[in-house]
Structure formats: structure tokens, C-alpha cells
């Protein structure tokens, strides 16, 4: 039986904690500046070099995903946000107060999960929609070329509209991708209980693991790496699939949030059984 009254109070408490420390504002601000700023810069660079693309690049060019690339950098700041929500409890010693105020420790993690997920998804959606609109404005200045011949198609531009198939889903998906990453960060911080260690783990899982997977024999490589969080999560914001190895939207989303749920469940188990 879930005690919703206790959950509501735990969320209220965590919300007070979240808005009363500067790190919240700094990480969110950094994510917004990095996310929107770099998205615009990268979209501009892509628009500039479009005329030099070969047929392969033109086939796989995704104006939606390419307008939000800055989110990959902004996600680092939000990843730190997700880590700190839990790890700051341990670094300050506050955790003993928190867990003696709510002996049902799972509710503390549940409240943090809900808040971290909602706040980071909202922030990421703002970044995603802003970046998308700036990116399309930039792409609207570039004339599209025929995928195979490379000849300019008069009157057709690179930009896409939110009403085009899968585009709205992809922009929302980008926001939820970041939300999922923050939950993975929170889960890792709950397991590791240490700020630097948890940030290292987040970077390891989202960046290093992809590189390690490339060391596998090529027969295994795609079967493994498509299920890793960063690869699987790409399905959320992809309109033009990047090759046959990428998971499509539904399985990609399930695998990605499966990772988040897995880390949170391990964290939840350890939080309930370990000494504080």
C-alpha cells in the first residue's frame, strides 16, 4: 500500500530543499545556456557545410535531431543536478536527518525521483523546443538538395515543421531523453552515495561505454551497443533513423527507461538495506 499523504509531504520537503540551494539554479542555467547556445552553433555549422555533404550524409541528415545537438552538452549539467539531489545528502550528513524524519526510506527516493524527473524534463523541453525553433530558422535559409544527385531543389528548404511525421514526437522525446538521463544519474548517486563517483559513473555510462563497445568484435558490436543507454535513448529524438542498427522508437524508449528503472531499483534496494 502506498501512503500518498507521506509521498506528498516528502515531495513538498524535497521541493523546499531543491529550491533553497544555489546548485539547482546553477546547473539548470548551465544546461539552458549550453543546450540552446551549442544547439544553435551546431545547427549553423551543419547548415554551412550542407552544400559539401555527400549522398550518404544527405540521406541521413535529420533536421530535427541536428537542431538539438546542444542537449548532449546540456545533459551533463542536468546530470550533475540529478546526482547532487542525492549525493549532497551524503556529503553534508543531512541524510541521517532525512532518513530519521522518514524511516520509510523508499519514499525519500520516490519523492526525489519524481521531482528530479519532472524538473529536468520541463527544463529539457524548454531547451528542446527553443533549440528546435532556432535550428529550423537557420535551416530555412538553406535550400535542400536532391538526396542522390546533389542538385538544388528550388523552393524547398532544409527546415522541417513540427507537424511533419514524427517531428513533434522527437522534440518531446528529446526532453524525456534528458529526464531519463537525470533519473539514471539519480539512481547511480543513490547506489554510489558520492558526488564525484556518481558523476564519473554517469559520464562512463553515457560516453565511455559507447567507446568500449566499439572494441568488441564487429559481429557483437551492434547487438550490444544498440542496447546501451545512450544509443537506445537516441530513438526518442530521431526522425530519420541512423542506419539499421538503431532501435526504433518504441523498443528504444522501453530499453532506455528500463535502464533508468534498473538503476533506481538497485538504488532503492540498497537504500532500504544499507546502514545510512
Amino acid at each position: 500500500m502506498i501512503d500518498f499523504g507521506l509521498l506528498k509531504d516528502a515531495i513538498a520537503s524535497e521541493w523546499t530543499k531543491l529550491r533553497s540551494v544555489r546548485s539547482t539554479y546553477w546547473t539548470v542555467l548551465a544546461a539552458v545556456i549550453l543546450g540552446i547556445g551549442l544547439s544553435a552553433a551546431i545547427a549553423a555549422a551543419a547548415a554551412h557545410s550542407y552544400k559539401d555533404f555527400d549522398a550518404h550524409d544527405r540521406v541521413f541528415f535529420d533536421p530535427t535531431a541536428n537542431s538539438m545537438v546542444g542537449l548532449f552538452f546540456g545533459q551533463l549539467a542536468l546530470g550533475v543536478f540529478g546526482v547532487l539531489i542525492m549525493s549532497a545528502e551524503y556529503s553534508t550528513g543531512l541524510v541521517r536527518m532525512t532518513m530519521s524524519a522518514i524511516p520509510q526510506r523508499g519514499y525519500v527516493l520516490a519523492a526525489k525521483t519524481i521531482l528530479a524527473g519532472v524538473v529536468s524534463t520541463v527544463v529539457a523541453l524548454v531547451i528542446a523546443f527553443t533549440s528546435f525553433n532556432i535550428g529550423q530558422l537557420i535551416f530555412s535559409t538553406v535550400e535542400r538538395r536532391d538526396k542522390f544527385t546533389g542538385l538544388v531543389i528550388p523552393g524547398d528548404h532544409l527546415n522541417v515543421s513540427l507537424t511533419a511525421p514524427h517531428v513533434l514526437r522527437a522534440v518531446f522525446g528529446a526532453g524525456f531523453y534528458i529526464g531519463g538521463m537525470v533519473l539514471i544519474a539519480l539512481g547511480l548517486a543513490t547506489i554510489i552515495r558520492h558526488t564525484a563517483g556518481a558523476i564519473t559513473a554517469v559520464v562512463g555510462i553515457f560516453f565511455v561505454l559507447q567507446i568500449v563497445a566499439q572494441l568488441l568484435p564487429s559481429s557483437l558490436q551492434h547487438d550490444v551497443s544498440r542496447y546501451l543507454p545512450a544509443q537506445a535513448g537516441m530513438a526518442l529524438f530521431t526522425v530519420v533513423p541512423q542506419g539499421s542498427t538503431q532501435l526504433s522508437f518504441v523498443p528504444g524508449t522501453i530499453v532506455y527507461f528500463g535502464w533508468a528503472a534498473g538503476f533506481l531499483l538497485i538504488g532503492w534496494y540498497l537504500l532500504r538495506t544499507r546502514d545510512v
Partner: protein
């Protein structure tokens, strides 16, 4: 009421708390004494369900703490000073904890007033002194107006005025019928504050008695007698079963005998007395005797020069 039954906590090979059984009763301040590393803080964490015991159990008001629901109105605790996020101000710190237990906002202002932190309530707590951190910790413990208070070293870092304030506060709570369990390494402070003492060493129970009793049973407590016929008196006392040592000032220190017995021996032998008084040991002395065998960390004694012969 706090009841521990065979409470044991092992960390790997280290036994932090070893088969500890005790009861902390309401209505009196109970002091929790022990040398560094004796297991005081571990015991307090076990009481609050933060650590789970290897074996045995401990209950607060008859139930395990982790089974309690919104426990702050029942139990208030101060575990370590400054276990607060330095970037958060005192007001928000208290308010966030109050919210977990449905404690109204106005109570936050009340406890801030009570501990004297109203003026700095909106300042980042990272700039607080150790003493202010302790006051904030005490405010946290008071939030739910609990019937049981568990305080780990609450006077650590407080100035004399703050120490006096804590002492009076704890006595006041005890007089209201609340259970007050307070650890300290300041013996003199405990002698003034606590009516009962639980003394542990190396995780084991050494004493569980009234403070006055602990002091009375100490070998430091003795009858002091001055007399022009000191030698004769000493012989008579020893014949009567007492032990006598002569201090440098020439006064006799009599152990194993009450002042009444000494007075009667003097009278029946017609010895003139210039002074007859009871000299109480300090709690510090009593404590040192009790824990002599169980000190975890000890500096080499000063006469051991370390020069091999």
C-alpha cells in the same frame, strides 16, 4: 522510554556495540558516557534505525523506530552538529524537515526563537559557527515537540552560556516527563545535568546507575580527617576495617568507611579531630576508573620514554 536488548553491531571484524542492554526512563536526564570509540554514536544510530543491529533489538516507546510513522512528534534527535547543507539557510532547513512530518510552518519560527537563531535564520548555514550549528541541531530535534529526545554531544562547541542553556533545557524537558538521552564526553557537565548514567566502553555496558551512586562507589570518594593524633587515629581506623592513606598535608584519607564510623572511632578512642569531611570523587575520576580497561585509543603514559633498555 528507550529499551535496548542484547544490542550488537559489528562492522566487519570490529564489534562497535556488544550485547548492550539498558533502559532509558522518562522523567530524568540520562547521560550516555564512554571514551572515544566506545560505541555511543553507533548506539544512537541503532536507536534511530539508521543502522540495523547485527543482533538484538532496541525500541523507542515500545516499537522499533523504523516501524514508526512520522516519528518527529515522538522522537527528536541531534546526531552530529552541522549535518546541514551549507548553502541552505536555517529556516529552509527546518521547514524542509517539518514538511516531512506535517509540522506547521509557524513551528519553524517558534523553534528558531527558542534556540536564539531568529536573527540569522535567513543566512546560509555554511557560515554558522559550531555553536550555532548545535543550536540549529537542537532546533531540529525540537521541531515535533517530541516526548523522547536523543542528543549526541549537544554541548560540543557551545560557550558557557550555551552549555548552561542546554543543561536547563534538558532538565526542563525531563521535568515534563519526557525521556532525555544525552551523550557527552564532558564528565563535569554530565555530573550537573544527568541524574542517571549509562557508561559504556568498547561497546559493552560498564555501568547503569544513578549519577550519585557512580560517584559514591568510586575509590576517589573518601573521608578526610585531620587530627593532632593522626597516627594513633590511623591505627584505630585500620583496626576497625578502614584503609588509610596520609596525604602530603598530613590529613588522613579514609576509604571503606563512612564519616559516621570514623567519628565514632575517634570519639571512643578520645582522639581530637580538627576536621571530618566527605570528599567526593569527581565524575571524571569515577569515569576513568570505570573505563580504564576499555579505552580504545590511549596515548602512551608519560613515564614510558620509549627508550629500549
Amino acid at each position: 522510554m528507550i529499551e535496548a536488548q542484547g544490542l550488537t553491531k559489528r562492522y566487519g571484524d570490529t564489534v562497535a556495540v556488544n550485547d548492550l542492554s539498558f533502559t532509558v526512563k522518562p522523567g530524568v536526564v540520562t547521560g550516555f558516557l564512554g571514551p572515544n570509540g566506545a560505541g555511543k554514536s553507533t548506539t544512537m544510530r541503532l536507536i534511530l534505525g539508521l543502522d540495523s543491529p547485527t543482533s538484538g533489538s532496541v525500541t523507542v516507546n515500545g516499537k522499533a523506530y523504523i516501524k514508526s510513522h512520522r516519528p518527529l512528534s515522538e522522537v527528536g534527535a541531534l546526531l552530529e552538529a552541522k549535518s546541514i547543507h551549507g548553502g541552505r539557510n536555517a529556516y529552509n532547513h527546518l521547514w524542509s524537515i517539518a514538511q516531512t512530518n506535517g509540522i506547521p510552518k509557524k513551528r519553524v519560527g517558534e523553534v528558531l526563537e527558542l534556540v536564539g537563531l531568529t536573527q540569522v535564520a535567513k543566512k546560509r548555514s555554511g557560515g554558522f559557527s559550531l555553536g550555532m550549528g548545535q543550536r540549529l541541531g537542537i532546533a531540529t530535534a525540537l521541531l515535533g515537540d517530541p516526548s523522547v529526545m536523543i542528543l549526541d554531544e549537544p554541548v560540543n562547541g557551545l560557550d558557557p552560556e550555551g552549555i548552561l542553556w542546554v543543561r536547563n533545557l534538558l532538565k526542563h524537558f525531563a521535568s515534563q516527563g519526557k525521556t532525555v538521552f544525552v551523550s557527552s564526553h564532558l564528565m563535569s557537565e554530565m555530573a550537573l545535568t544527568a541524574e542517571r548514567l549509562i557508561v559504556i566502553g568498547r561497546g559493552k555496558l560498564i555501568a547503569d546507575a544513578a549519577t550519585a551512586e557512580v560517584i559514591r562507589l568510586s575509590s576517589g570518594t573518601h573521608v578526610r580527617v585531620r587530627s593532632p593524633q593522626a597516627e594513633a587515629l590511623a591505627r584505630h581506623i585500620e583496626d576497625g576495617g578502614g584503609t588509610v592513606t596520609i596525604d602530603p598535608g598530613g590529613a588522613l584519607a579514609v576509604h571503606n568507611m563512612t564519616s559516621e564510623q570514623v567519628g565514632e572511632i575517634a570519639a571512643s578512642n578520645q582522639v581530637v579531630l580538627h576536621e571530618l569531611s566527605v570528599s567526593s570523587a569527581s565524575l571524571e575520576q569515577a569515569f576513568m576508573e570505570l573505563t580504564e580497561e576499555s579505552v580504545e585509543f590511549r596515548a602512551p603514559s608519560t613515564d614510558a620514554t620509549g627508550v629500549s633498555q
